[in-house]
C-alpha cells in the first residue's frame, strides 16, 4: 500500500500493465522523455524504451487512427490525448472507426485500445483545457467511457479498461490529479467497468456524480446535515442503472451533478432512467446541478461556471424540502 495521488496511481497502473503485457504501446504528444504534460507517464520512456513509449507527431486524429490500426493487429495501444479539448480532432476516428469496427466486421476485427484523456475544469488552465465532453462519447454506441474520482478507483478502473476487449475512453479529472492522496494497493486489482460506487449511504436524497464534482458533492453533503446517498458513477457508459435505481427507490429524490453543460448532458440520461424506473417512487423532480449551457469560461470565471459545493447544497436543500 502506498499513499498516492491520482497521477501516481495511474502511473503505477500503466507500469504494472506494461510489465505484464508487452502488447501495450503508449503513444501521444510529449508522453516520452517529458513524461506527459501532467507527468502521468513519468519514467515510462526510460523504463520501457522508445519502442513502447512513443512521442508521436502533433496530430490527434493520427494518434487515434494509428492506435486503431495497432489494436486491429492485436496490440493494446494506450494513446494519450493531452487535453479533452483536443479529443475533438479525433472524434471522427473514435466514432467512425474505433466504435464501429467490431460491429462492422461482426467481430472479425476489434479495437482493444484505451485512450487516456485529462478532463474538466478548475485548474486555471487556458481555453479548451477545461471542458467535459463525456456525454458526446457516451452517445456513441460501441465504446465504453470511464471517469474515476479517486486514486484507488483510477488504478483499478484503468487496469480494467486496458484489459477490456473493446475501446475505452478513460477520462482523468485533472482537478483531482494532485488534489489528495489515498491508499492504493501495490498489487494489481481491477474494478469492474459498469459498476458505480456508493460513496456514502443515506435515505433522504440520492446524489449522482462522477469525476471531480464528486468531491464537491461530499462537501455539500457534509454541510447539508442531511442523510444523503452519494453515488459515484465511475463508468459513464455503460451506466450502472441498477445501483442508481435502487437508491432512488429508497430516497425518492435525486440530484445529478456534472461539469458539462446541462442541455443534453449525461444528467439528462440519468434523470430519464430514474424517471423511467422509479416513477412511482419519486417525491420531487430530479434536479440537475451542472455547468451552464454556455462555453466554459476562461479561468477567471470558471468557478462560477462549475457546480461547486454551494450550488449543489442549494439544490439538496430544495429537493429535500419539496
Amino acid at each position: 500500500m502506498a499513499n498516492l495521488t491520482l497521477v501516481q496511481a495511474i502511473n503505477l497502473a500503466l507500469i504494472q500493465e506494461m510489465e505484464r503485457d508487452d502488447r501495450i504501446i503508449i503513444l501521444g504528444e510529449d508522453i516520452g522523455v517529458n513524461g506527459g504534460v501532467f507527468r502521468v507517464t513519468e519514467g515510462l520512456h526510460k523504463r520501457f524504451g522508445e519502442k513502447r513509449v512513443v512521442d508521436t507527431p502533433l496530430a490527434e486524429s493520427g494518434i487515434l487512427g494509428t492506435a486503431i490500426g495497432l489494436a486491429m493487429a492485436g496490440l493494446r495501444p494506450i494513446p494519450e490525448i493531452q487535453f479533452e479539448g483536443f479529443l475533438a480532432p479525433a472524434y471522427d476516428q473514435i466514432c467512425t472507426h474505433a466504435a464501429r469496427m467490431r460491429s462492422r466486421t461482426r467481430g472479425a476485427l476489434t479495437v482493444p485500445l484505451t485512450v487516456r484523456v485529462p478532463i474538466g475544469g478548475g485548474i486555471h488552465a487556458p481555453e479548451l483545457h477545461s471542458d467535459s465532453p463525456e456525454a458526446v462519447y457516451a452517445h456513441q454506441p460501441g465504446i465504453k467511457v470511464v471517469m474515476p474520482s479517486s486514486p484507488y478507483d483510477a488504478k483499478g478502473l484503468l487496469i480494467s479498461a486496458i484489459r477490456d476487449p473493446d475501446p475505452v475512453i478513460f477520462f482523468e479529472p485533472k482537478r483531482l490529479y494532485r488534489a489528495f492522496r489515498e491508499e492504493v494497493p501495490e498489487d494489481e486489482y481491477t474494478i469492474p467497468l459498469g459498476k458505480a460506487r456508493v460513496v456514502a449511504e443515506g435515505d433522504e436524497v440520492t446524489v449522482i456524480s462522477w469525476g471531480a464534482p464528486v468531491v464537491q458533492c461530499m462537501t455539500a453533503i457534509e454541510a447539508s446535515g442531511k442523510s444523503i446517498e452519494l453515488i459515484d458513477l465511475r463508468t459513464i457508459y455503460p451506466i450502472d442503472t441498477q445501483t442508481i435505481v435502487q437508491s432512488v427507490r429508497k430516497t425518492g429524490r435525486a440530484v445529478i451533478v456534472h461539469e458539462a453543460p446541462k442541455n443534453c448532458g449525461l444528467g439528462a440520461e440519468i434523470a430519464s432512467r430514474i424517471m423511467e424506473h422509479c416513477f412511482l417512487y419519486l417525491e420531487a423532480p430530479i434536479q440537475r446541478v451542472t455547468g451552464f449551457d454556455m462555453t466554459m469560461p476562461y479561468y477567471k470565471k470558471e468557478l462560477e461556471y462549475l457546480p461547486e459545493a454551494e450550488r449543489i447544497g442549494k439544490a439538496l436543500a430544495e429537493v429535500a424540502a419539496y
Binding site: 494509428t66 490500426g69 472507426h97 476485427l109 455503460p238 422509479c278
Partner: protein, 379 residues
C-alpha cells in the same frame, strides 16, 4: 530571389506497356512470368464480369448503391500480386480485383453492398480490412497495422488504397506523416482516376502531380500508369521491398480512370465529357493486357471464350451465395456491439423496445414500477 538551395526533388513516372501496345523491354524485363500474366488477365476479366453483374443487381433492385470498378482493375491487382499473403491490404471500395486475388470470396463484396455486415466479416487469415466508406480514414489504420508488424519484427508490410479525392483529407496527411516519421513499412497507393464523384483531380490538387504530395514528408514517391499492370507491378515491387527491408514508406500515384459512374447513384454525364471517357476506353487495362498476351501467343479466342464461361459461372455462384444467405436475426446485431453486452442494451435486445414500459417483464423481474406496486428488479 537568389538564395541557397537547400533541397531538390523530382517525380518520375513509369510506364511499361502503353496503350498502343508498346512494351519497354528494359523496364519490363523479367517482371512477371508468363503463367502469372495469364492468371492476372483472368482475374481482371472475372472482376470485370463481377462488376457488370453487380451493376445489374443494383439496377434491378437486388442490391443497394454500388461503385463500379470498371477500368481500374490493374491497380489493386498489381499491388496484391506483389504483396505477400500476410501483408495487410487496406482498401477503400474500388479494389475488388486485388481483394479477389488475395482470396476474398466474391460474395463478400456483394453482401457489403446488399447492406449486410457479413460482407465485412473477413475470413480468418486473409489480412484485409473491410471496405472503407468514410473517405481518407483508412490509411491511418494501415499505418497502425504496419507499425504493429514492425513492433513485432514480423517483416510484414501494409499497403493502403485510396483515391485522388482522399488525398485532400486531413487524415491522409496525418497518415503519411506518421508513416514517414515513425519509419513504418507501408505503401500508400493512390488511384488517381481523374474524379472524386463530380470533382476533377485538378480541383483536389493544383500541383502537376499527386505523387509530389509525398515530398512533403521526405517520402519516396513515384507516378505510374495505373492501367499498365507491368508498371504497377514494377513500382509496387520496389515500394514493398523498401518497406520490408528498410521500414521506409512509399507513395505511389497510379494514373487510371473509372469507366463507369462514381456509383450507381451517380450520373457522370452531368459533369464529364464523353470525349474524355472515349479516350480512356482506349486505355482499358484488360484490353491492353489481352492484346499483349495474344501477341505473345499466350491467349486466343477459345481461351477467352472459356474464361468468359468460367467468369459467368463463378460470378453467378457468388450472387447465389450472397442472395441465399440466411437472414440474421436482429438480436445478433445487439450481440455484435461489445464483447459483453451492457445491461440496458440486453434489455433492448430481449424486448426489441427502448421505451421503459415496453421493456417490462424483461428477464426475471419487472423493472419499471407498476401502479400495483409489485416488487421490481432492475438489471
Amino acid at each position: 530571389m537568389p538564395a541557397r538551395t537547400v533541397y531538390t526533388a523530382s517525380i518520375e513516372s513509369v510506364s511499361i506497356l502503353d496503350e498502343h501496345g508498346r512494351f519497354d523491354a528494359q523496364l519490363g524485363a523479367d517482371l512477371i512470368p508468363n503463367d502469372d500474366l495469364v492468371k492476372l488477365y483472368e482475374q481482371m476479366a472475372i472482376s470485370r464480369r463481377f462488376d457488370e453483374i453487380a451493376f445489374k443487381l443494383q439496377r434491378s433492385g437486388r442490391m443497394g448503391t454500388y461503385p463500379e470498378n470498371r477500368g481500374q482493375e490493374a491497380t489493386s491487382l498489381g499491388a496484391a500480386y506483389v504483396l505477400n499473403k500476410d501483408d495487410w491490404l487496406v482498401t477503400c471500395y474500388r479494389e475488388n480485383t486485388g481483394l479477389f486475388w488475395r482470396g476474398l470470396p466474391m460474395e463478400y463484396i456483394l453482401l457489403h453492398w446488399m447492406g449486410d455486415e457479413r460482407g465485412n466479416k473477413i475470413p480468418d487469415g486473409l489480412c484485409i480490412t473491410p471496405l472503407a466508406i468514410p473517405i481518407g480514414t483508412q490509411m491511418l489504420h494501415a499505418a497502425g497495422l504496419a507499425w504493429a508488424a514492425k513492433y513485432r519484427e514480423e517483416k510484414r508490410i501494409a499497403c493502403t488504397f485510396f483515391g485522388d479525392g482522399a488525398t485532400s483529407e486531413g487524415d491522409f496527411h496525418e497518415a503519411m506523416n506518421f508513416a514517414a516519421n515513425l519509419d513504418l513499412p507501408i505503401v500508400f497507393f493512390c488511384q488517381n482516376n481523374g474524379w472524386a464523384i463530380s470533382v476533377p483531380t485538378n480541383k483536389q490538387c493544383s500541383a502537376p502531380t499527386l505523387a509530389q504530395r509525398g515530398i512533403a514528408y521526405g517520402m519516396d514517391c513515384i507516378q505510374c500508369d495505373g492501367n499498365d499492370i507491368f508498371a504497377v507491378v514494377r513500382v509496387m515491387k520496389e515500394a514493398s521491398q523498401r518497406a520490408r527491408e528498410t521500414n521506409r514508406p512509399t507513395f505511389i500515384e497510379a494514373l487510371t480512370y473509372r469507366l463507369g459512374d462514381h456509383t450507381t447513384a451517380d450520373d457522370a454525364r452531368r459533369y464529364r465529357d464523353e470525349a474524355e471517357l472515349q479516350m480512356w476506353m482506349q486505355r482499358d487495362p484488360i484490353i491492353r493486357l489481352g492484346n499483349y498476351l495474344k501477341e505473345l501467343k499466350l491467349w486466343d479466342r477459345s481461351k477467352e471464350d472459356a474464361l468468359q464461361e468460367r467468369a459467368k459461372a463463378e460470378v453467378a455462384d457468388a450472387v447465389k451465395r450472397a442472395e441465399e444467405i440466411a437472414d440474421t436475426p436482429i438480436e445478433e446485431y445487439f450481440d455484435a456491439m461489445y464483447a459483453d453486452i451492457p445491461e440496458e442494451l440486453r434489455r433492448q435486445r430481449d424486448t426489441l423496445r427502448t421505451s421503459s414500459l415496453g421493456q417490462e417483464g424483461f428477464a426475471q423481474g419487472v423493472e419499471t414500477p407498476t401502479k400495483q406496486g409489485i416488487e421490481e428488479t432492475v438489471n
